[in-house]
Point group: C2
Chain length 261, copies 2
């Protein structure tokens, strides 16, 4: 059943032993040759971090029968870079899939998420890329109902390709049934942090960061709306962060640079 000429890179941010990446590699094995490169420890919230001040380790391991797997000491983005340059030797895979993340990456969370940043890095490298996330943080998360969606969406990307410089951010609601797929935009929202202050045994203060997401967007075409209503949310995502619409306004400013000729 697997198409042996399709090369699939599987990455994540929860680490190589996370249940979500096992589900993802099992589904991907139905579509082609799978190589897994994942962090050796959890890397949630690492965003688009790369490792430049320390050396990186990359070690082959046998975790699941018949799958080429490597654990990496670096970030999710490091994993993608090492995979392309040290494992694929510059011959890029046909697709890069990241996840399945334990926890959602909707709205602004695309920026904090190691799962999504790995997929973004794949896209920067010109590889069709998808990040998958499920609304369940637990180690015992039930991924069964989203398996056919992971397979179906990946098949569509392999068949159609993706628009240039675009990847997909796919989030699944929790529950036994998914109503279908909605193509969405990223909802506007942000986190309201709370820092829990504690004192260590040496009498020094420290903080644990927690917070809650605040939605500032009543749109019905958002990822948050789709998820709330039981749909898988698919957001086409780009890495050009230019606010093109703002260029004319900033061009109208008169900069008064004091010692400019």
């Amino acid at each position: 059943m697997a198409k042996k000429n399709v090369n699939i890179l599987v990455v994540n941010d929860d680490g190589i032993t996370a249940p979500g990446i096992k589900v993802l590699l099992e589904e991907m094995k139905k579509l082609g040759n799978v190589v897994v490169v994942a962090p050796d420890s959890p890397q949630s919230g690492m965003g688009h971090a790369i490792t430049i001040g320390r050396p990186l380790r990359l070690d082959k391991i046998d975790l699941y029968e018949g799958v080429e797997m490597y654990k990496c000491s670096g970030t999710p983005v490091d994993c993608v870079k090492l995979a392309i340059h040290k494992i694929y030797k510059g011959k890029k895979p046909d697709i890069c899939v990241s996840g399945i993340n334990h926890g959602l990456n909707y709205s602004i969370n695309v920026l904090y998420s190691g799962t999504m940043s790995a997929a973004v890095e794949g896209a920067i490298e010109g590889i069709p890329s998808i990040g998958f996330s499920l609304d369940d943080f637990s180690h015992q998360a039930d991924f069964s109902f989203c398996r056919p969606y992971v397979l179906g969406i990946t098949e569509q990307v392999l068949k159609n390709g993706l628009p240039k410089n675009t990847l997909l951010n796919v989030n699944f609601p929790r529950g036994e049934e998914i109503k279908g797929i909605k193509i969405c935009r990223q909802a506007n929202g942000s986190w309201v942090e709370e820092f829990e202050e504690r004192t260590d045994p040496h009498n020094r203060d420290y903080f644990w960061m927690t917070g809650k997401f605040e939605l500032n967007d009543r749109g019905e075409e958002t990822d948050v709306f789709a998820l709330h209503n039981g749909y898988a949310a698919v957001v086409p995502t780009q890495f050009d962060m230019t606010a093109h619409h703002a260029i004319p306004e900033i061009n109208s400013w008169s900069f008064d640079i004091k010692d400019e000729k």
Copy 2:
């Protein structure tokens, strides 16, 4: 000269002792009340990482006379979050400036840069925000010629505000003279990595990541073009990563979800 009712948050990613942040806080002191919150060690390449698996430290220090300063054990984005919630107590500052980074953050580097991610976080919080970077990695970098630009651009942002959900990414060329300011878009490009392989004293392999930037964009309206021609490059930057133009195309796909009703 300082307008005492203007509250200015200064952050960076090179760490609280970097020369670049000293230049930035000196210029900002001309405009208002400065609070500095910066990492206690270099955090270049940290992207939009946040610290969720470890506690955070935030300690007041006296490094420069008459400036309220804090060093933070976390990432640049953590610094912004802690500043807003623990120092400003939720009353947001009037502007957030990040840098001046030792090294450029043009093109795709906006995603890897801790300097820019701190500014992005400020913008997510609704604060007018600017990231500044100079084309000089050295500790002895000469920031003198970009000082009037830092001041002039910040004054314009304070005067005009910024379009909603937009921040500025400002990069300065190296050299004794800046020709002026160009409002640009982010150039299309990516890094071609090279991993230098070494063996440790225990006979285990490790890698150092290096690489070179590859520009895939001949546009004359890009940040890279402006910098090459001696101009300060100002890119209006957004944090909505939705590829809005791609939504209709993805909506044309027929998803074949096997066990969907």
